[in-house]
């Protein structure tokens, strides 16, 4: 995939920025320099990539953890990612993802850095054959449905079937019911999500890209799990994600939904 890095001699020799700069601060800094092109609140992938590249060079042995966001069109995959990546919420009618979006994100788990390579897929059926090719190499899958859209929940079984077919057997799967901030528009109950997760033996949580609820947690849980597996503790507990999630969720001062 990442082929012959026989490296162009002119790639990023000089790195002026602090490689350990945190993403959030980075964003903050950029805010002060208004974009000359007039795109307000825009978070540049280039800058992020630059940071990530710096990581690659610094810890060249650091593994890249591939994570894919899946789910029906319109359930909020890109919003979830953007919220996690930039802390911003892209409002409702934000356009559909074209093909596959690629984002690198470095997070800190227990004082060590975990690099997530996140693939944001388009939910539309016509892109499905393109996205299948990426399942194979995925370490983790975030499978999203929309709690205000019954169909997106019903399709989860089909998605899981597809995952079985194309993905590695030991892939980390997390089922996410997004748009939990929806209030009265909710159609899929939290228990339904939990029940489905139990049935397929996958982790589950509800998130809101709008309020930010559990967004960080979802990705951090994945990062933690992937790191554990990499360090060989993989066999210790297959359900550590679930446990972790349960613990972390209970810590939340305001549970998103009554159970």
């Amino acid at each position: 995939m990442t082929t012959e890095d026989s490296m162009d001699d002119d790639v990023f020799e000089a790195l002026e920025d602090n490689p350990h700069l945190k993403v959030g601060e980075d964003t903050h800094q950029l805010k002060n320099t208004p974009s000359p092109t007039g795109y307000r609140d825009y978070k540049p992938p280039a800058e992020v990539l630059k940071l990530c590249e710096s990581d690659t060079i610094e810890d060249s042995n650091q593994t890249v953890h591939k994570t894919i966001l899946l789910g029906d069109s319109g359930v909020g995959k890109t919003s979830l990612l953007v919220k996690f990546d930039t802390g911003k919420f892209q409002p409702g009618n934000f356009s559909a993802t074209v093909g596959i979006g690629f984002t690198n994100k470095v997070v800190t788990v227990d004082n060590s850095r975990v690099k997530l390579q996140i693939w944001d897929t388009a939910g539309q059926e016509r892109f499905r054959s393109v996205t299948h090719a990426y399942y194979r190499d995925a370490h983790a899958l975030l499978l999203l449905y929309d709690v205000t859209n019954k169909t997106s929940y019903d399709n989860i079984r089909a998605w899981l079937g597809e995952i079985r077919e194309y993905a590695q057997d030991d892939v980390v799967i997390m089922l996410i019911g997004n748009k939990s901030d929806c209030g009265p528009d909710r159609i899929v109950r939290r228990e339904d999500g939990e029940r489905l997760a139990r049935e397929y033996n996958v982790a589950f949580m509800e998130t809101s890209a709008k309020s930010g609820l559990n967004v960080e947690l979802a990705f951090m849980a994945i990062a933690r799990e992937l790191k554990l597996r990499q360090s060989g503790q993989k066999d210790s507990n297959k359900f550590s994600v679930q446990d972790y999630v349960r613990e972390e969720t209970q810590k939340t001062p305001c549970p998103p939904c009554s159970t």
Partner: protein, 486 residues
């Protein structure tokens, strides 16, 4: 005036764009992909992929999230707002299944689609084809392109051929998402297939395309506008792209654009891009906010280039501080990372060469109006260089800053008068109480100039003559005069 014919600002011996006349056959397609694959012989993924795609039954079966069909099929017949729309566009399968409606939910007037299908097939039964119907001020324009039927119902002043062109754009937009081959194959396998399953999200692109084509003279002219840059900057940008991609095989096009204007277009030797395909790319970029969030990898079919298969595009904005969008189009299905790296190298080169600043500066500079450049009697103009399929227009000045729709209508009408198949004109001068229009079609260029209404003929001709000289002096800034290759 005759001497001015010699002046052909923007003319170039070689063009990266296929040069085109506007009412040429839209359906014409080539099969460039086959050639590229044969000449390079790299991977067979293309075929595999197509096979995968075509096997519909093996696709993931997802319940289509269609809204429950209400029993009130004819709701819209009584909906004043719906009926009052000046232009409806419908797409349906040749079996009469609704695919797209510009306004309203197409499921709610399925019977209309039935009527449209019946009209087309009735005429077809006699080995004929229905092109248009005219009732009062309403035109019904039909386009049957296997396997789809496209219909425009318009109360606008656009003529039939302009509406047909718009329908062709819509068809090509659909084809660019699925490829024509797949589209045909789908219906061969299942005549009653509901194509909307595969077009989720595309309706937004079509909506945008329709608005876009009604607002942009580029569509009327069949040309693209370039971002004004000095030729040295433009050349530097082109060569940055060429050098950064020197080791990447099978790269077909490198396109850098910003604000609906082309910055540069680098191409594989021997291959050109058609302006219509480029318009679809402009449309995709403009309609997809999501492209700004990440690097994107997407299949994309350019119907005029090759309707039978996909190209793969790496799409990204250059940098946070430079909102130009770069598309690298290849035939390789797995070239994401190499192109992602190439993109980094391009940005770096551009940054070091101060090209990003130059682009920003041009983007931030308000284009001059006619008054600014010393043509007070000239209100606005469109200049299209035929040999490069590029055009230039000044910034909108008074009085069209208030009503620019009128300006576009004027241009559309003038363009039709010049290209009307039955009686094309070479030179048109028309004065109304609101404006004066001079339209001129020569071998090398088309010029549409809108002047003050009291301008007399002699003055109009003199002004246009001066204008051509003015454009000629700035041609290397206003147009991309070379056609760099990888």
């Amino acid at each position: 005036m005759a001497s001015n014919c010699e002046v052909e600002p923007g003319a170039a011996p070689e063009s990266a764009l296929v040069t085109t006349d506007s009412y040429e056959n839209f359906q014409q397609m080539s099969s460039s992909l086959e050639e590229i694959k044969n000449s390079n012989f790299t991977s067979s993924t293309q075929d595999e992929f197509l096979d995968n795609c075509n096997n519909i039954d093996s696709d993931l079966h997802v319940n289509c999230s269609t809204v429950s069909v209400s029993s009130q099929d004819e709701d819209y017949i009584r909906d004043e707002e719906w009926l009052g729309k000046s232009k409806h566009i419908f797409v349906l399968s040749s079996a009469g299944k609704p695919i797209y409606s510009r306004y309203g939910n197409e499921d709610r007037f399925a019977s209309y689609f039935g009527i449209m299908q019946a009209l087309v097939s009735f005429v077809q039964a006699d080995d004929d084809s229905i092109r248009s119907m005219h009732a009062g001020d309403t035109k019904f324009v039909f386009l049957f392109r296997e396997p789809l039927i496209l219909v425009a119902v318009s109360k606008t002043e656009e003529c039939t051929s302009q509406l047909t062109a718009q329908l062709n754009y819509v068809f090509n937009q659909i084809a660019s998402m699925l490829t024509l081959s797949r589209l045909v194959k789908i219906y061969e396998q299942r005549r009653n297939y509901d194509l909307r399953r595969l077009l989720t999200g595309v309706e937004r692109l079509i909506d945008h395309l329709l608005d876009f084509s009604e607002q942009e003279p580029a569509f009327t002219l069949g040309a693209v506008q370039c971002l004004p840059l000095t030729s040295s900057v433009r050349d530097a940008i082109s060569s940055a792209i060429v050098q950064s991609c020197s080791k990447i095989k099978n790269l077909v096009f490198g396109i850098l654009l910003a604000n609906n204007q082309l910055i540069t277009l680098v191409r594989m030797k021997k291959y050109c891009i058609h302006p219509h395909d480029l318009h679809l790319i402009f449309n995709l970029v403009q309609a997809s906010e999501s492209l700004k969030t990440a690097e994107i990898w997407t299949p994309l079919c350019l119907p005029r280039f090759d309707a039978s298969g996909f190209l793969y595009g790496h799409v990204s904005y250059l940098a946070e501080d430079c909102q130009a969008c770069l598309l690298l189009l290849t035939v390789e299905r797995d070239a994401f990372f190499s192109l992602s790296e190439a993109k980094q190298r391009i940005v770096e080169r551009l940054r070091r060469g101060n090209c990003l600043e130059a682009i920003n500066e041009s983007l931030n500079t308000k284009e001059e109006t006619c008054v600014d450049i010393g043509f007070p009697e000239l209100r606005h103009y469109l200049y299209k260089c035929k040999s490069t399929a590029q055009f230039h227009q000044p910034s909108m000045g008074a009085p069209y800053t208030i009503n620019c729709k009128r300006l576009l209508d004027l241009y559309r009408r003038a363009h039709y008068r010049l290209h009307c198949p039955t009686r094309p004109l070479k030179l048109l001068f028309e004065r109304t109480s609101e404006d004066a229009l001079l339209a001129w079609d020569t071998r090398g260029f088309e010029l549409y100039a809108i002047l003050e209404p009291l301008t007399d003929t002699g003055n109009a001709i003199a002004t246009v003559g001066r204008l051509l000289n003015w454009i000629k002096k700035r041609e290397d800034k206003l147009f991309q005069l070379n056609a760099p290759t990888f």
